[in-house]
Amino acid sequence: MSAPTTSTDPEVAAYARQVREALADVPAARLEELLEDLEEHLVEVASETPGPLHERLGSPADYAAELRRAAGLPEPAAVAGQGRRGVRERVQERWGDHAAVVAVRDFLPELRPAWWVIRGWAAVAAVEAVFLGQVGVPLPTLGLGPVGWVVTGAAIAWSVRTGLRARAAGAPLTHASGFLNVGLALCAVVAVIGVASQRTSTEYYPAEVSYDSGPTTLTHEDGTPITNIVPYGPDGTPLTGVLLYDQDGRPIDNLSDWTGDGTVVEPQVSVPAQPANAYPQAQVVTGYDEYGNEVDEVFPAPATAAPTP
């Protein structure tokens, strides 16, 4: 039920915000009840009295203190050190009402549920990072498999439930819960470092990375493709129709179908058909002459073409 005038007067908005900040320790529900129409009231004061608000009403901190007494609110548990407070107030005066700061401050509470999820995950992940040296992504397992997932899920559920209850109660942040949250934030840092170091180590050991470039063909150690095998007998006579197999009895038929200079080599469709692992393989080698025309060369020189004695 805020009047439209409240948002148009930056002086009133700033004063009201500083009063709210001074009462930040008051439970949210109670504070809202108390300050519901503070802006409207300050607008009245501003409209009926000349001069700046803090001249008429004193500092926002004093105003808040008087309000606290009149409304019967508990006194603040501890007063911040005066020296530190001076710096803090100066920073707040300089930047506290900057549009960007206000926008971020209004937006941050929306992220609280995300933090509840993260802190639940981080608590388990940090335990895992410390004891196992690695973090399961996305769910830590604690080395227990699915049981670990259940533990992680339970931790997140408990964290969210606690967060929801605390928000519903509107209770101010106690020292204990503050320290607990800082501790869990540190856990998150530990867990994230654990995840990051896993990523890095993967990059350092490329042996784990495989490059799938299809079936490999025969090559020499220097990379020259092997396009054919020409067997000779112990007495130096060329052999034909030699069948080659590997140690497991699998036929060796993975010749390269490209020569080193890019010439296409294809098995010749011969009659009668030869097994794919019969060597030397009858082939058609497609090259190019000096005019760029395709020249097919048959290898080895066809036995049928040679005159049979």
Binding site: M1, A3, P4, T5, T6, E33, L34, L35, E36, D37, L38, E40, H41, V43, E44, V45, S47, E48, R56, L57, D62, Y63, A64, E66, L67, R68, R69, A70, A71, G72
Partner: protein, 110 residues
């Protein structure tokens, strides 16, 4: 003697009394209290008292739109507020009488 200390104890009663005559908005209540002689009354005290009495269920409130100025939130007494005013008035009157008698007695004794 510091009147602001005394005021703390009777501000509820003072605000109820002011609103019993006529409904008023926050700053209007401040002004009427000051006009009645409670010049040291603080704006925040009155605002806080109004909100507390409202939260306690002693006041009704309604917004009156204004053409030139801001919208004003008026407060008025409801049945609970009037009952509270009656009770508090009795308490205060008894207390004030006691104090008056005490002070008169001291003056006689002196």
């Amino acid at each position: 003697m510091d009147t602001t200390q005394l005021l703390k104890g009777v501000l509820d009663l003072a605000v109820l009394a002011v609103l019993d005559g006529e409904d008023g908005y926050g700053y209007d209540v401040v002004r009427r209290l000051r006009a009645a002689g409670l010049e040291d009354v603080g704006d925040a005290s009155v605002y806080g008292t109004l909100r507390r009495l409202y939260a306690a269920g002693h006041l009704t409130s309604y917004v009156v739109p204004s053409v030139e100025g801001p919208h004003r939130k008026y407060y008025g007494l409801n049945a609970s507020g009037r009952a509270e005013l009656t009770t508090s008035t009795k308490t205060w009157t008894g207390f004030a009488d006691t104090m008056a008698a005490l002070l008169a007695g001291e003056q006689v004794a002196a």
